[in-house]
């Protein structure tokens, strides 16, 4: 099975790469961070003996994606799975961020995800089952003050994935949205979880089991995976309580948390 992973050298991407390699998949890795790709390629090949290709790519650039596709096409690779992991978040109020970083959230999380998804769907293995994972977020369930753009971008993915799934169902394509709460992917993420204290702790999911279960579920044809009981309860809460009320509650809580944690970015 051939799998393409975007954002492969980040914490979540690496965990997915390890999970897929452990299942014997051959991998095509891409990330904007070129330095992270070759150690990961080495690690995967040494540990699992699978075939790994890697190429750095800025998914927000049409030109860069074109180069990536050239490599794929010149090798004649056809895919069975696409893991859309690349994404970005800048914390903080809308007006406290400069314009380019706000727009960057949309251009990477939404636009770039559509670009690569469209391209790889055209390069799926003929007549076989194809799976796509979109990394959405628990944040997609609510309007989130102080994470407004991020949460909305993740909402886009959630709705898009479900609609695309229906469109391509007859062609044996399945999409799944992964909506995790906290994930202990990087040191910044862990310090963010710690800043949220008790709530951070109970909404945090184990990276190694989330990746395993995501792959299981997407292959079984599921459309949504919210890891953890607490997170599932919180998402239900998002459906029952009027949205303006939710926005109020979230704002009240995040305002205090962010004072403790002024970490800027995670991807």
């Amino acid at each position: 099975m051939n799998v393409l992973i975007t954002g492969a050298s980040g914490g979540l991407g690496r965990a997915f790469a390890m999970e897929c390699a452990g299942r014997g998949c051959n991998l095509f890795l891409t990330d904007i961070n070129e330095d992270g790709l070759s150690p990961l390629k080495n690690g995967l090949e040494r540990r699992y003996g699978v075939c790994v290709k890697a190429k750095a790519c800025d998914l927000t650039s049409e030109e860069s994606v074109g180069e990536l596709l050239n490599v794929i096409d010149s090798c004649g690779i056809r895919f069975d799975m696409l893991l859309n992991i690349a994404g970005i978040d800048f914390e903080g109020g809308f007006m406290e961020r400069d314009r380019s970083s706000v727009l960057k959230i949309v251009s990477l999380n939404v636009e770039a995800t559509l670009r690569i998804t469209h391209a790889i769907l055209q390069r799926r293995r003929e007549g076989e089952k194809f799976s796509i994972v979109f990394v959405s977020s628990l944040a997609s369930m609510y309007p989130m003050p102080l994470k407004a753009t991020y949460a909305a971008s993740k909402r886009f993915l959630l709705d898009f994935a479900l609609a695309l799934r229906q469109e391509l169902r007859e062609q044996n394509v399945n999409t799944l949205s992964l909506c995790p709460g906290g994930l202990a992917t990087t040191q910044e993420a862990i310090s963010g979880i710690m800043a949220q204290g008790f709530w951070g702790d109970i909404t945090t999911n184990r990276l190694e089991s989330v990746t395993r279960r995501t792959i299981d579920l997407v292959q079984r044809g599921k459309s949504l995976y919210i890891p953890g009981t607490v997170n599932r309860a919180l998402s239900l809460f998002g459906k029952l309580v009027p949205r303006p009320v939710i926005a109020f509650i979230i704002y009240w809580r995040w305002k205090n948390t962010q004072k403790k944690w002024l970490c800027t970015s995670s991807d």
Partner: protein, 286 residues
Amino acid sequence: MKTVIITGATSGIGFATARKLAGNGFAVIGIGHSRVNCENAKARLLGENPKAEITYFEAELMQQREVGRLADELERYISVHCGGELHALINNAGCVRSYYTTTEEGYEQQFALNHLASFLLTYRLLPYLKRAGGRIIMTCSNSHRGQKMHWDDVMLKKGYNPLTAYKQSKLCNILFARGLNDRFASGGVRAYAVEPGLVKTDIGNKETGGLVNLIWTLRKRHGVSPDVPAETFAYLCGEESNPCGLYYRGSREEKYSSEVTRESAERLFRLSEKLCGICYSEEAVL
């Protein structure tokens, strides 16, 4: 003057050992992962012992490329300043993690730092150790007893338990020491594992969260000063001829797990070679 290298030498057991060995007349090369910590450690050591020969190098040993870079720098330094001889390498740097987190290679961090980093650094420095009939010493722990190797999943991806990962990494330390002896003791180098006892250090409070942090904060209260295990390192470095045991506490041999067999040591050695992309039998000849 005999040279020793100590990893994780800016605090805890590594720092106490650096102080002790500097006092005993060794030239000490310390490794730490932040510049500020290295500078502070060096200043403190020189403050107590102005004539001591102390050098610090920075490296994030968890990442293999950093080990490679550090080894390049150390090779140059040892060749120029130490006559190409290294008397001892103390693989002490270690960490505890609350969550399953990975290095650049995708390797679990406790396994990567507590074991693989030592494995790779030792490989690179072995020629210099051989020249001096040197010693390789791991900071191990009695917590390795009662732990088995999870051979089918060494990085514990299927159900990560921080404590199991830690204990297994400590079992790796003593298995690695055993594996080195099986291969190289006849060539004059000798490897040891040290049981430090329960020591009052911050290992369980660095970059950990929640439960792990809390438990270690409570547990370390009962610990001894890092100067206690430093005595063990001083003994192993200071003896004229290489002591012939494997596992030490103070100047006495300590009982170790029955899991430490030639077969397991060999198996870990092969696996680690694979994960580091190296082969000890093809090591560079000076």
